[in-house]
């Protein structure tokens, strides 16, 4: 299956600080359904800014963002929340699990704002936890899990709503090499099952292992391996 899930056209972002920071200087690319790609670049190159804009958590200063057929600039804040609740999944470097909840309820909260009933949310969460290999940990409280397990829970939470696109910001940034490899392996598996995933990383090794990578430097695309033969 293919088709555009995300399109960026000349996206710029200037933070109105003094002096203003030009974090993105005209970024354009398309992402098709079922892709797995990395956005790679040094610290301060604008990766997180780009992720926030792709995830509709922030609006671009200029340019257009189209997600799952919706042009972000035409949508109200409320509509953007709706878009996120159904079409976008996030994975963060710091996991951001809720400490008072079990693994299962952390995942189920990925569906909290869809209006789905609690029993259905839990059923879907159980399924998502099984998919990331954590079925046996579902009743454990989030704070008792290891870093790798927490990130798996976070990934399950991002996937549970079957979003059009999953955005992961440095998902392995807080993990050791071995755990990090396992997480990347999991993302590859999930992609093979059909999920569209964008991984943001400053780790070139991870980026090079991905089918496609976009290099970012000073807010500008340095390279995009789309269309190039995969090595």
């Amino acid at each position: 299956m293919s088709g555009e899930v995300l399109a960026l056209r000349s996206v710029t972002k200037t933070y109105p600080t003094t002096p203003p920071v030009h974090a993105l200087g005209g970024v354009s690319f398309d992402i098709a359904s079922g892709e797995l790609l990395a956005v790679v670049g040094p610290s301060g190159s604008g990766k997180s800014t780009l992720l926030h804009i792709m995830g509709t958590l922030d609006r671009p200063t200029s340019g257009d963002v189209v997600i799952a057929g919706h042009n972000v600039s035409h949508l109200s804040d409320r509509d953007l929340s709706s878009l996120r609740s159904r079409h976008i999944g996030f994975v963060f470097q710091q996991f951001f699990l809720l400490s008072g909840y079990t693994a299962l309820d952390n995942v189920a909260d990925g569906l909290l704002y869809t209006g789905m009933a609690l029993a259905d949310r839990r059923e879907r969460a159980t399924e998502a936890l099984r998919r990331v290999g954590l079925a046996h940990r579902s009743s454990h409280v989030a704070t008792t899990l290891s870093g790798g397990e927490r990130q798996r829970v976070a990934i399950a939470r991002a996937l549970v709503g079957r979003p059009s696109i999953v955005l992961a910001d440095e998902p392995t940034g807080n993990l050791d090499t071995k755990t990090s490899d396992a997480i990347v392996g999991l993302l590859e598996e999930l992609n093979a099952e059909g999920s569209t995933i964008i991984v943001i990383t400053h780790n070139r090794e991870i980026a090079e292992a991905m089918p496609r990578s976009i290099g970012l430097r000073d807010g500008i695309i340095e390279y995009d391996t789309a269309g190039m033969p995969v090595s």
Binding site: G3, E4, A7, R9, D30, H52, G55, L57, D58, D64, V65, V66, G69, H70, N71, H74, L75, D77, R78, D79, S81, S82, L83, R84, S85, R86, I88, F90, F92, Q94, F96, L98, S99, G100, Y101, D109, G110, L112, Y113, T114, G115, L118, R157
Partner: protein
């Protein structure tokens, strides 16, 4: 295929709005508070103390008021006393002999009972106690209808009647009986009264409207005249009048009792003292209610404080929830929900504690327990209102936080 971003104007059509069920707001609030138990408990405690004190104050004042009203009801508010003033310029201590008859002629007067102090007569347990040690017990000559007029009751034996009023028989007031060491009328109990033995035929319960008589030995008017040389000149007259005309009667009593020197007559309405007590209680109730209100306010400030801290601490949670699709309104409702839950828990706890305090105190005092329903409903209502006010600012603050700022962890 490529997409022209500018062609997507009708997008909203298939975009289902994100929503949050009320039950989930409650669940989220419960978990949110459960993960910060101590803090939640302490801030709920503030509200609880405020509500508990207000409910207890209302409950106690209502219970004591109903007790007082029951007392007034029992004793009636239509009893008036007419007494001869004593002291320089205030009178001789005696009323005119025909005062009772004159008063009885006032239309709305229902009954009159005469009391005449027997001067110089003392009461002793035996005949060899020195004259000076009277124990503060006076001897009063009374008519048999006095007990009914005063609404008094007999603890032991019986009261004076037409027959016993002519014999050397006496009925002791509660304090007098205690001081004389007469606990029963069984057998033949004698007391040394005015140089001769009198038989104790009855002991009275405490008078609630005329405590003077508690410290008296009562004898019949005829007996007083015959055995003690009393002149039967009234020193006090107890009057029951129609309740509707009580003020009018009060106005003419002095002049009727002693037309020549009405200023030497003291007219009293004993139930006024009880009513004054009720008014005093009301003033105290208002004061304590005010203090309870202050406690409640402090509790509210405590909740606001805890919620503001909570919002700052949970920035990443707010960011995460926005990323999961929460609208500003959803975020606000979560924090408002927590504040309301805290306050309602405090309010319900406060009402229960207030009830318990009222129950314990009223039971101890032997009153009926009476907490006005408005105190319970109002208490919980006030707590919820305080929670809403206290939670509003933190909730708005949480909602206004930009998602990217909330996610940037420092």
């Amino acid at each position: 295929m490529s997409v022209d971003p500018r062609q997507h104007n009708e997008d909203q059509a298939d975009l289902l709005p994100s929503k949050l069920h009320g039950a989930d707001v409650l669940r989220t609030a419960v978990v949110g508070l459960r993960t910060r138990k101590l803090r939640a408990a302490l801030s709920a405690l503030g509200i609880m103390i405020g509500i508990a004190s207000m409910v207890a104050v209302l409950g106690l004042s209502e219970s004591s008021k109903s007790e007082l009203l029951a007392q007034l009801d029992r004793l009636g508010t239509n009893l008036l006393t007419v007494q001869a003033g004593t002291g320089i310029g205030r009178g001789s201590g005696e009323l005119p002999e025909d005062a009772a008859a004159m008063i009885a002629r006032i239309g709305p007067v229902e009954v009159t009972s005469v009391v005449s102090t027997v001067d110089g007569a003392n009461v002793f347990r035996t005949d060899f106690i020195p004259e000076g040690q009277t124990g503060g017990i006076s001897v009063q000559a009374v008519s048999p209808d006095l007990l009914d007029t005063l609404g008094g009751t007999v603890a032991e034996g019986r009261f004076l009647d037409a027959a016993s009023s002519t014999y050397p028989a006496t009925v002791l007031g509660s304090v007098a009986a205690e001081r004389l060491g007469v606990a029963t009328v069984a057998g033949t109990q004698l007391v040394w009264l005015g140089d001769q033995w009198f038989t104790v035929i009855g002991i009275l319960d405490q008078f609630e409207l005329s405590p003077d008589l508690d410290r008296a030995a009562l004898v019949g008017l005829a007996a007083a005249e015959k055995y003690l040389g009393d002149d039967n000149v009234p020193t006090a007259i107890y009057v029951r009048a129609e309740p509707a005309a009580i003020d009018a009667v009060m106005g003419v009593l002095a002049a009727t009792a002693n037309p020549e020197t009405p200023e030497e007559v003291e007219v009293d309405r004993p139930s006024d003292a009880l009513e004054a007590r009720e008014a005093a209680d009301d003033a105290f109730t208002a004061l304590f209610l005010g203090l309870g209100g202050v406690a409640l306010l402090v509790g509210g400030v405590g909740i606001a404080n805890v919620m503001v801290i909570s919002v700052l601490e949970r920035r990443s949670e707010i960011g995460l929830r926005r990323a999961l699709g929460a609208t500003k309104r959803h975020v606000a409702s979560q924090f408002l929900g927590e504040a309301l839950l805290l306050a309602s828990v405090g309010g319900v706890g406060g009402v229960m504690v207030g009830y318990a305090v009222t129950w314990a105190w009223a039971t101890w005092r032997g009153w009926g327990v009476l907490v006005p329903p408005i105190a319970a409903v109002g208490g919980i209502g006030a707590a919820i209102a305080i929670g809403a006010v206290a939670g509003l600012y933190p909730a708005v603050r949480a909602a206004r936080m930009s998602p990217t700022e909330a996610l940037r962890i420092g």
